[in-house]
């Protein structure tokens, strides 16, 4: 009796899981997509627009970067 019950629970567990997977895949298959060329063009556009504000990309003068070493100070 015990073994019959547990195998029934095991199969129904698999059924519940399979139903969830099917449900999830249906949701994923139905989303709207755009073409890769358009998506890539947008990424490039964003890069181009923001490149001048990117310190690591453009490099900023040592005097403006708090991390870059300035000339040593002399204590008067």
């Amino acid at each position: 009796m015990q073994t019959v019950m547990s195998s029934k629970m095991a199969t129904s567990n698999n059924i519940a899981q399979a139903k969830r997977t099917v449900q999830q895949l249906r949701v994923e298959a139905s989303i709207e997509r755009i073409k890769v060329s358009k998506a890539c063009a947008d990424l490039m556009h964003y890069c181009g627009e923001h490149a001048k504000f990117d310190p690591l990309l453009m490099g900023i003068p040592a005097s403006e970067n708090p991390f870059k070493d300035k000339k040593p100070c002399t204590i008067l």
Binding site: S12, A18, V22, D42, P66
Partner: protein, 395 residues
Amino acid sequence: MCDQTFLAATFGPCDNCSANRPLMNIYLKNEPINYCSLCVELMACQGLAPGETLASLKTESENLKVKLEEERAKLHDVELHQVAEKVEALGQFVMKTRRTLKGHGNKVLCTDWCRDKRRIVSSSQDGKVIVWDAYTTNKEHAVTMPCTWVMACAYAPSGCAIACGGLDNKCSVYPLSLDKNENLAAKKKSVAMHTNYLSACSFTNSDMQILTSSGDGTCALWDVESGQLLQSFHGHTADVLTLDLGPSETSNIFISGGCDKKANVWDMRSGQNIQSFETHDSDINAVKFYPSGDAFASGSDDATCRLFDLRADREVAIYSKESIIFGASSVDFSLSGRLLFAGYNDYTINVWDVLKGTRVAILFGHENRVSTVRVSPDGTAFCSGSWDNTLRIWA
């Protein structure tokens, strides 16, 4: 299988039998329902439509997967690096270690910048969480956690608190006080409770909510003040190792990556898994949104980093070289999204040109695995933490 390892994250009256039991949060016809596990099983047995069997459901799910791939492939008309051919190539990069933060007694596992662009919080295997002033390399605060392997730490947006957690399965929030002598551990607040280790945590736009991911396969959104679970996210079938929130203040999505090789996109309000990407060959160690919020990068144990576009719903670039055979543990974008900094288990940091797919620099300096890489909020520098017990600031 994760169904055995993770317990339900909520407890309360079942919508069906009204008994107070651990609840499973599932979706039926896009409606969230909270049934206890017994009612879920009974419903599953009754819920089979005539002619449906386990086998027929499995075939349907296989067919759906194939259809999903076909739909994605239809829109795959070009590769990113082809589109980027007309973009100017980048010049030589000179990035050096400008500061070395020493003080941890063991491996540095996680770091986060404060929004003031100068403070950094870092956590380590030895259980210590330290707040540093990156300009002066001074330690401002130190907390000793009751557990080792503090794998996650995060700075609150206001700069007034930090969150951390690890093998204690919890995420705790410590308000930072200006009084140096105050014992921070006394004010500690336990916010998140998982059934396995905490792998990552992040504050949302305010100090009031925290998003966590755990080795129990789930992610969860918590209210800091009350410690209440606001939303839980089920879908990963193995440990979740990393998460990242959408960059815009109005976006309600976040991404997570885990040991099941999947990167999932979630809706924070409904708890629904919107998209899933499974092209990596091994555990995904890090995910990070592209600054525009339309794409994200991932780093994995398969030694590659990949760029996925959310609107095209597919992988659009892969950053790899035959000479790179060690896993990538951490990734972050520069401010414009043109550069991708990735820390690897071979002790190096590789800098990739996101658009062209080429490597522009390789940075040496750490004497052990690089475990975390974070670009500062104003993009002037980035910080790397390593198993050699140090943090380095590069600019």
